[in-house]
């Protein structure tokens, strides 16, 4: 129906240095880092199969040292993501590319480090480092799975509200409840006052992660008032309480999803630091007893 202006190329498109391609970190640059990781792992496996080490594969052979060096360098580099993420320096880097590489190269460590051990395990600092590394990777896989599934739920639950707006809405309901509860009898008013006085988000980590708050006094007030029955004042308070409960649910769901998106990091990061310690001990001891 019409002719667009002749030049459609915007300066931003021309410069081409912008990350305006719409790909998630897993699919970044058509899975470039997945390919790198797969090639790296395959090379390691083939080398392991072809190289004849006597009496058996171990960490001290030239292949073992090579794999160990690659693994150690990778671990240190992967840990640096924590710094990269927080250091907003100039330059054409993209955190998405870093995350992508972090994920796939981190997974390739499973192959490289395992081959480095030569399947020799024992109750020592070497196996401790290996076990910690596997735990870090496992927690990372957990992280990827929540990153893949929860963001859409988080957005769906927000319904275009920010957390601040949700809390404001709760405040507004509380103010209305307070004035609506004035005509109520002592016992009923106490139920409402108790609900308003309670910190509705207290309940510790378990409540935060499950979204179930067992001693919720808003619920108790709803049940308590429902028994009392009719009356215009009661009905108004009940309707406000129902809205308060719905609002609480939205906020609690928000907090739950945020917590689930973050909790794995509370394993991933401390385990990484422990791993770096164990790795240092492993390397020092290996060279000490050479």
């Amino acid at each position: 129906m019409a002719s667009a202006a002749q030049d459609k190329s915007r300066p931003a498109d021309r410069r081409g240095l912008r990350e305006s391609d719409h790909e998630g970190f897993l699919a970044h640059k058509r899975m470039r880092w997945l390919k790198v990781a797969v090639v790296l792992s395959l090379v390691a496996i083939i080398a392991y199969a072809l190289v004849d080490v006597t009496p058996r594969h171990n960490g001290g052979s030239w292949l073992g040292y090579t794999l160990g060096t690659i693994g150690a360098v990778l671990i240190v580099w992967l840990a640096l993501l924590g710094i990269r993420k927080r250091r907003m320096s100039a330059g054409r880097w993209s955190l998405k590319a870093w995350t992508s590489a972090h994920v796939y190269l981190g997974l390739s460590l499973v192959v490289i480090a395992t081959l480095h051990t030569g399947f020799q395990f024992g109750w020592n600092v070497h196996t401790l480092a290996y076990a910690l590394m596997m735990l870090v990777i496992a927690s990372g896989i957990w992280g990827i799975s929540v990153y893949a599934t929860l963001p859409a739920k988080l957005a769906g639950n927000r319904r275009e509200m920010t957390k601040g707006q949700m809390l404001d809405a709760l405040d507004a309901l509380d103010r209305q409840l307070e004035s609506a509860a004035q005509p109520l009898g002592r016992a009923q008013a106490d139920l409402v006052i108790a609900a308003l006085a309670q910190d509705p988000f207290a309940g510790g980590i378990a409540a935060r992660l499950t979204g179930r708050y067992r001693r919720c006094r808003t619920r108790a007030a709803l049940e308590g008032l429902a028994i009392v029955g009719d009356g215009q004042d009661i009905a108004k308070v009940l309707s406000l309480l129902r809205r308060r409960e719905a609002q609480l649910q939205q906020i609690r769901r928000h907090l739950r999803l945020r917590a689930m998106l973050e909790i794995w990091l509370y394993f991933h990061v401390p385990l990484t630091i422990a791993l770096l310690g164990a790795l240092t001990a492993h390397i020092v001891s290996v060279f000490y007893y050479w």
Partner: protein
Amino acid sequence: MVSGPDRFVVAIVGSGPAGLSAAAHAAQLGLAHVLIEKTDHLSDTIYKYQKGKHVMATPSNLVLRSDLDFDAGSREAILATWDRQIADGAVNVRYNAEVTAITGEKGDFTILLKGGDAIRAQNVVLAIGTQGNPNLLRIPGGDLPLVQYQLDDPGEYFDEHITVVGSGDAGIENALGLAADPAQRNVVTILNRGTDFARAKGANVKLLQEAENEGRVIVMRETSPAEVRLGENGGELVLETRDGQQVIACDRIIARTGSRPPRDFVEKIGVEFGSADPGAFPVLSPTFETTKPGIFVIGALAGYPLIKHCMNQGFDVIEFLNGNTGLKPADQPILEEKFAPLPGRRSVEEWLDVIGSNVAIFQDMSPLQLRELLLDSQPRAFAAGEVVFTRNEPGSSMFAIVEGSVVVEVNPADPSLTVPIGQGSIFGEVGLISGRPRGSTVRAAEPLVVVELSRTAALKLIATVPSAARAVNRIALERQLLQMFGSGLTPNDVAPLVEAAEVMEVRAGQKVISEGGDDRDIYVIRRGSMVVEKDIGGKPIFLSYLPAGSYFGEMAVIDGSRRTATVKAAIKSEVVRIPGDLFTALLDARPALRQRALAEMAHRRELNAFVEARKESFGSAADLYAETAQFLVDNGIGEATDVLLIDETLCVGCDNCEKACADSHEGLSRLDREAGRSYAHLHVPTSCRHCEHPHCMADCPPNAIQRGPDGEVFIADTCIGCGNCQRNCPYGVIRMDPVPPKKPGLLAWMLLGLGPGPGEASYSWRKKKAAKQGLEQTKLAVKCDMCAGIDGGPACVRACPTGAAIRVSPEGFLSVTQEGGLD
């Protein structure tokens, strides 16, 4: 009040910076004068600034020429200095005097005041600013003392029935303020002529609804006041409601129904304005005299919004009145500096003369206007062959050729194909009008001197000098037609089209062409953008997006068919309507153009046919596509040039984008990730869209908001912190905050726990730290600058760990929505 002679030499109306400075100088020279002020204090506009507001003194390179002192400082300090100096200088001030009319001629003017007094003066200096007077309540009893137009302190009224008239932000804020404290026991009613509060901010409307639910404020919709009267028990207000008349008790009425610009008042005196444009200023001589001899206009009303300019003019106008016509304006050193790099070693006056006589659009301008224009512009020289600007470069300035000529590279594929533009003409006007990137590369053909007019300067020129406006519009349309049609057309070919063209303003959402119509005109989008829709099974299906510089409607002209789709404005736009028969005549004369038009038409037919054929099978995917496109257009993408979007299926809510934004700049985040609208997992966060015609630029006194080389709209450090841009931005992306103190480094935080860590520091940390370091906390406007000057581009996108944050231009981005859609 000091009693004056029978007739003053000069009466100065308005005691803002301009009027004060004029009065002070008149007093110093010993002229018989009077300063007339509407309120009971000096400089009402600055007086009404919030307490402690820091007032800036820009431009810093302009010297202050006044008997009063002025330097950047707090509102209180500045007002105190002026009050003292006005008293010391024995300035004759008449307070509480509102001027209702000015009659008479030079030498004998009569200034009528509200209440019946009259003042006689030989000359009148109008320094009344542009704020205007509040709209009055024009109903019987509207002049009773219980009606007031301002509310200074809502806390001073108790036990009253108060009615607020007006459904804007001012009215709502007043009503909420009066009802805020139940202990005051006021019964507050707010009247709204309509059913909703469309003119007010969303947040205010919400607060009002909440107050209504709680019974703190009575909101009366579809109600207007009919009469105010004093009954037996005090005031009464008669209301016209949907269900008939109603009378309510009313002790006080606060009318907040907007204000009327002072133009009517000034015109009634006999002063002519540059044009009918609402942005026009009075026509002034080099001595600030208007078209009515003896009446002078200075300050904001003359087009100078900055305090220093105003004060200098106050001084100058009195000097002129006192016979010192040879006085050079205070901006002389600035102009000298601007002209210094140009070849030829000419003086400022010689350059002004050359520019004024050589450039066609400047010929009707007074030397004063030209000086002012050049303050906002940059004269530049280019060697032969040098590039002035490149195709696709963003830019909204306009160039006027003072000496030499340029060539325009019309074909990007073949730079040797050029069109010349000669001395005295202009170029670059398309960017100015449409806000879009440059259409072609322009080079100097010979040694060249141009004046580059900033967007503000050019718009002011168009608003104040009608001949310049006509010339610019004509040239712009002619070039736009030539560029669009191509095919070797000459200005002569399109001349009849330009002659018959008619510029139309189109509201957002207004249809220009309706599907099925049999009208026969073609349209060019001059500014704004359009969306093309087709009705499929009762639902409008989005077909395409047309930016400024496109044309539409030619299919029906060429083949005489009915309109096959609807074209409506995505945002407020301007289109040029060209009669279809003239276009047909052009096609008959130019077969090459007809060939091209037919080829383009065939392509669009295919799309239409495709949509037609598939309409039965269109399922929810097409709906989703159309609705998503509509959502994005509703959220201002139609006027965006570059917008941040967040894919909610990828966003983990880490806020690293906000942290990166704060850390890449001075420590304040310019985006709010969580706020903003979402649709189909596409979230438009609160962050700058870099509009084609930025609303924020509209009213920036120091002209600090500019478009940068990469198309970004940024705020320069000449910002004075007035907050106009924040109020004007419809998307709420500008914040006013002082520059925070420096944080300890990242490693100091990670290893030693020093400082607040990455991202924007909390308000309390910033405040405490700044107080400790004794930093000045002046609130300045802060907004996204697309990370201009930072290698690697926008930090928000670089710092997103999952790839949820992307930046796109509208064309690119309607394709983001297209996944699973029509294609």
